[in-house]
């Protein structure tokens, strides 16, 4: 049975690019399965069945399951990078840029839980097998934020601090919101959007130089 005759990931998209490579189909199905059944139940045979190919075929495109997942992480890293870059460009002041990036980050985490899970939640023992060279690429995403922070410090909008530490702090806060929300651990009585909103505002506020940060609201 071939791809075209079986239930494909997204028939609409299929007719569009019709000649989507098998590699692409594998990755897409893997992603799909990650959201529906979770990493623990993501298996080669699982993926293969879904796309109507034999499990063996996957090995033509990926050396191992690790390799496949790493490819997915790669995609996730790129996608997030894109979103952050766009957010960064969408505003001019360091504050606005940072806030835009925060919102983009959280949006990415919430909308693409599959990517987010393998990128940032999977057990470290696993992530350690992630090729070192790709780590650097992943780290760039943090550096975009760090740059906006640095700019904020340079222009005295943000309080003086080690920008990478600050970036990690920002990251932590956003990461916490994303993971708690998507693991459904937050009480239903809490409105997710309010939580996200509050988090993004505080992240920026917490970086403001003390003088500025608080004088304003009291006015």
């Amino acid at each position: 049975m071939r791809l075209s005759s079986v239930n494909t990931v997204n028939p609409a998209e299929m007719s569009e690019k019709e000649e989507k490579s098998l590699r692409r189909a594998i990755l897409d199905t893997a992603r799909q399965l990650l959201t529906t059944v979770g990493y623990a139940r993501l298996s080669m045979r699982n993926i293969a069945n879904e796309i109507g190919y034999s499990a063996t075929s996957i090995y033509l495109y990926f050396e191992s399951k690790d390799d496949l997942v790493h490819a997915l992480i790669d995609e996730g890293v790129d996608l997030l990078h894109e979103r952050l870059t766009q957010a960064d460009a969408s505003a001019s002041t360091p504050e606005a840029r940072l806030e835009a990036m925060c919102r983009a980050y959280v949006a990415f985490g919430i909308e693409r839980p599959e990517y987010y899970e393998i990128m940032y939640v999977l057990h470290p023992e696993y992530i350690k097998r992630y090729p070192t060279e790709k780590y650097r690429k992943a780290r760039r995403n943090l550096e975009i934020m760090a740059r906006a922070i640095q700019d904020g410090i340079d222009s005295d909008v943000f309080r003086d601090a080690e920008p990478m530490l600050a970036a990690n702090l920002v990251w932590s806060q956003l990461h916490g919101v994303v993971t708690l929300l998507s693991s459904e651990r937050v009480d239903k009585r809490i409105d997710p959007d309010q939580l996200i909103d509050a988090a993004c505002q505080h992240v920026v506020a917490s970086l403001r130089s003390w003088g500025q940060a608080v004088a304003e609201p009291s006015r």
Copy 2:
């Protein structure tokens, strides 16, 4: 009992209470394995081998793997509760109490990553089987913080806000720091303690009423 003649979980502790029950040994070994190999590789046989017993024996003390893990979660919840309660009692002002609790929370997460993982990181599909009655107990931990926040609001130290929303915000931020650090995703050039410090301070700062929050530093 063969316990003493085999590689035990922690020889030091063993000589201490010598007559540690097998149930205890199982829980401890499970915890140990959670840190070393992660939940995905935590198996009954794994645990059994580690303590030199047959896998079957575990079933003398736990109905199922679920049961075993739930028992661990329970312990974690209690342990965290204890730490938070102590922290809450260790200070008098709402601010100080909250900060103490933040530090206690992070300390717990960092020092007891096994507990933390099954309590707050494990895939929700799993956690859903956690008995409802115990959920309430788990939620109490958030409520201790919410209470301190409420007190702060009442005494005008904290800006007026929905205390549960604020508590969840605090929680998110701490959770982010804990998980990123213990999944070793934070660059080694960042000093963990600095990150934790910064996070705890910001958490409290972000709750201060705008007027007060900023007046001080500018002084």
Copy 3:
């Protein structure tokens, strides 16, 4: 936990003979489990749990699971014997006696499926371990019927035949009805009672002397 404090097989009976032996309780529970969960799921621990004793205790009264089941078979054999004897005594003509016994046999099979299953349905590999001496006792049940048949032959009501062969024939027919009915393989549109009725009548009719029953058709 002791018998009295736990869910017993039949509380009503319990208060009656209060001091029912554990051996009795084991047998009763085993029977009960045979009907509810079937032989495949009848386990020592299962029984033990049900009566609130430890599985080990069963071994105080029965050498092995085989032994226990054999004891049950014994009871079944006795019970059936009793019913057949009563039926035999309830009528005077050989025909009436036989028919009464047929009805008693089927009734036993339907009302006591647990006994019936282990007595007559369990895989032969198992039954082979049944002590030889007890076989003889079991065979007696067939002999009661054979005797009525012999009486019928002697008084010319039944056609001349080898009585044991005839008895086995009768037995087969009844056995077929019982097993098909209690394994729920008979279409629901068939009324069980009608089927049983018809079977019992035919069984007797088929033994009638050819002169009476069959001579005619040839004419």
Copy 4:
């Protein structure tokens, strides 16, 4: 394929069709084990060992143990159907047709005890998982008999009766003979063939119109 180098199910048959598929070998071995050790001890590993393959391999041909057994039941149903159809066609009068079918039925049960066990003896709890659509096919076997009975009634050879009830009665009687014989519960002093013979004759005789069969006794 290692098949040829290992102890095969039936070397004679093997040399015949040499290229017997593994699927076939699995089914045959399963059947063989059913007769030798019974369903209770029929396990995937058991089958696999017998044919010199790994247990995993079975899953290449059958989704589950259920699936495997259902496939066997299917085969049995078909085989029996074939035999009954042939028997039905082998004679012309309803009586002769019915008797031929009775003999065919019993012969099937005795010669193919494995099939017979899973088709008609296995615990109902199991059989309930048998796909509904296949039930209909199984029921056809009874309907062939019912048809001959109906024909007999129409031509006044058989006494007027509900044909399905009569068919079930016939079935019960045959079933009883088959199961008692193949479970080796019948005394060795009884000649199986005589028993079968007698049963088949009686089955037909019991259906004959009362006028013919019973008028006499009134004489």
